[in-house]
């Protein structure tokens, strides 16, 4: 009897979690199709906010900035992060625990601290050298920095999950170091790398705080644009952007999960 009550309680809790997690998203998506610009009454279905988006140059530019930022930073982070992940694996038996903590740190560091530090860093370097003019370039560097630990960890955990004798089997079967990388390491890591890429991409698209502190006047991304626009009130246009972003991130996240799972057979 008591067990059943407990079970019911847990079920309720589960549905409440789902409700608070996804209902706001559903509301945003629903109102992006609202015919009127009311945020309270749904008066009818319309695509007018979406067509209006296409005519808004600021939005189009922010969209491109977001896309370039996410793609470039993810590719760079993938290259550096996977090398770090492999290095962590190769030297996992050494006593370098504190070094690993250094790599984890950006994951737990509050974004705002990270963003402000990056900004202060870029500004002071810019003052003395003229390099690192705030803009897409600095944003890419900042994004790469916070994406690297995620990539490194995904690659590292995939490698740790492998039977270590596979490396030896490849050596034993006449594979030179280069051929081992091409015919064993890369194909084995492929799902993890794809997964890490999509995770990095999602993190970059999502990010507001770090982008905000490292952006220049011309490099507003979608989140930065939304933040600016929202000061004038939530327009259905914002709902439309949000809906598109939810869609994009959901697709990237699904890909990331799918490839990560595929690698773990």
């Amino acid at each position: 009897m008591r067990k059943r009550t407990l079970q019911r309680g847990l079920t309720t809790f589960w549905w409440a979690t789902i409700f608070f997690l996804y209902l706001p998203l559903v509301v945003v998506m629903l109102f992006s199709f609202n015919a009127s610009n009311s945020a309270a009454n749904f008066t009818g279905f319309s695509l007018r906010w979406y067509t209006r988006l296409l005519g808004n140059e600021q939005i189009i530019s922010a969209f491109w900035n977001s896309l370039v930022l996410a793609s470039v930073s993810s590719v760079v982070a993938l290259a550096i992060g996977s090398l770090i992940g492999y290095g962590m694996y190769r030297h996992r038996h050494r006593k370098l625990g504190w070094l690993i903590v250094l790599i984890y740190l950006p994951i737990v560091l509050p974004d705002i601290v990270f963003g402000i530090s990056e900004m202060a860093f870029f500004v002071s370097i810019h003052r003395y050298t003229g390099l690192f003019q705030p803009g897409l370039g600095t944003m890419i560097i900042a994004h790469v920095t916070f994406q690297i630990p995620f990539v490194a960890l995904i690659v590292y955990s995939r490698l740790v999950g492998l039977d270590a004798t596979l490396f030896e089997a490849a050596k034993d079967l006449y594979a030179t170091p280069f051929k081992r990388a091409v015919h064993f390491l890369m194909p084995t890591l492929k799902p993890a790398l794809i997964s890490a890429f999509f995770l990095s991409f999602t993190l970059s698209i999502d990010d507001f705080v770090i982008s905000f502190f490292t952006a220049g006047p011309e490099s507003a991304t979608l989140p930065i644009y939304i933040w600016g626009a929202i000061k004038k009130g939530v327009s259905p246009e914002i709902n439309a952007i949000a809906t598109l972003m939810i869609g994009a991130v959901a697709i990237a996240a699904v890909f990331s999960l799918m490839f990560n799972r595929q690698g773990r057979h």
Binding site: T165, L166, A170, K171, L173, H265
Partner: protein
Amino acid sequence: MTNPMPAPEVEHSDPLDDTREKDESMPREASSIELKGLRKQFGKDTVALDGVDLTIDAGEFFTLLGPSGCGKTTLLRILAGLEEPDAGKLLIGGKDVTDIPPHRRSVNTVFQSYALFPHLSVRDNLAFGLRMRGESSAERERKVAQVADFIQLGSLVERRVDQLSGGQRQRIALARALVCEPNVLLLDEPLSALDAGLRGQLQVELQRIQKRLGMTFVFVTHDQDEAMVMSDRIAVLDSGIIQQVGTPSEVYEHPVNAFVARFMGHDNLFAIQRSADNWVDTELGRLQLDPAQQRSEQQGWLLIRPETLELGGEVPAGYNRLEGTVKERLYRGSRIEYRLEVNGVTLMAVASNVGQRLHAVGDRVTVSFCPEDLVRVAA
């Protein structure tokens, strides 16, 4: 390179049937192995190999036997090139390969965990070594088909590795190494993960394959029965030192020291208290020895193999004779094991189950054995 596997056309009977003659189409490139003063240390005070000298003949089925941590796996890994010795030389086929990396040695390994590549199909696993060596795809296809046929798993080549059973993986791992036609094949406890029935079957199969291919096999195991069944010769290792090298019967019947005797499964070891040319004193009492097999060691242990003991019946002239009590009887089907107490000491005896009267617990029995069957063993 010539073909190591019998051509498929001659494959009309059981390919593992070793009643057929040794296949002459294969390369007789089996290599001998020479180890000279090999030393290997891990960390500051773990000595894995403490000066190993050993010669393994070409075409021999050679087993490294010992408890875990005895250095046998380290030795195998040095043969494969996966571990570098701190000192000493390794010659394969007369050539010094001490500093040659694994991918340039004509040596292949069957790993304990099989180490099949999970991202490749069975076919691509089998072809991996050939591909890395740069053989043409036609050549690879021909050899893979041949080896798959040879191990009778041709139907599995399209499968994924995770769709195979343990026994199938084991054979694929073996085939992946064999297809490369190595001069030496190394096997690192390849049967330890299999259940007893399959293990027995594969022991016989491995031995047949080795005899048919005439390849040098170096096999690592901690199981003395497995070692005896399969090997031409066995090296027993302990604490990084080779204790004894010999044929299975030499190592089993004439162990050189107490460690080898115990490791080969002998329980009846009795400290020698006093001895002369033709007798020894032990806790069991004074026993007659065969003076012909007198050894230099005066101290040490006396080994009595349980299967050489005769229980009850007439005692032939010249035989040793003891009186004991049956303390325990284990019925094993084909044989019966008795734990006897003789002069307050435990003595194990094994009798074939061939219809004689079983002795019951508590029975007094006469134990007799031939002096020639007694072996002196160094401490």
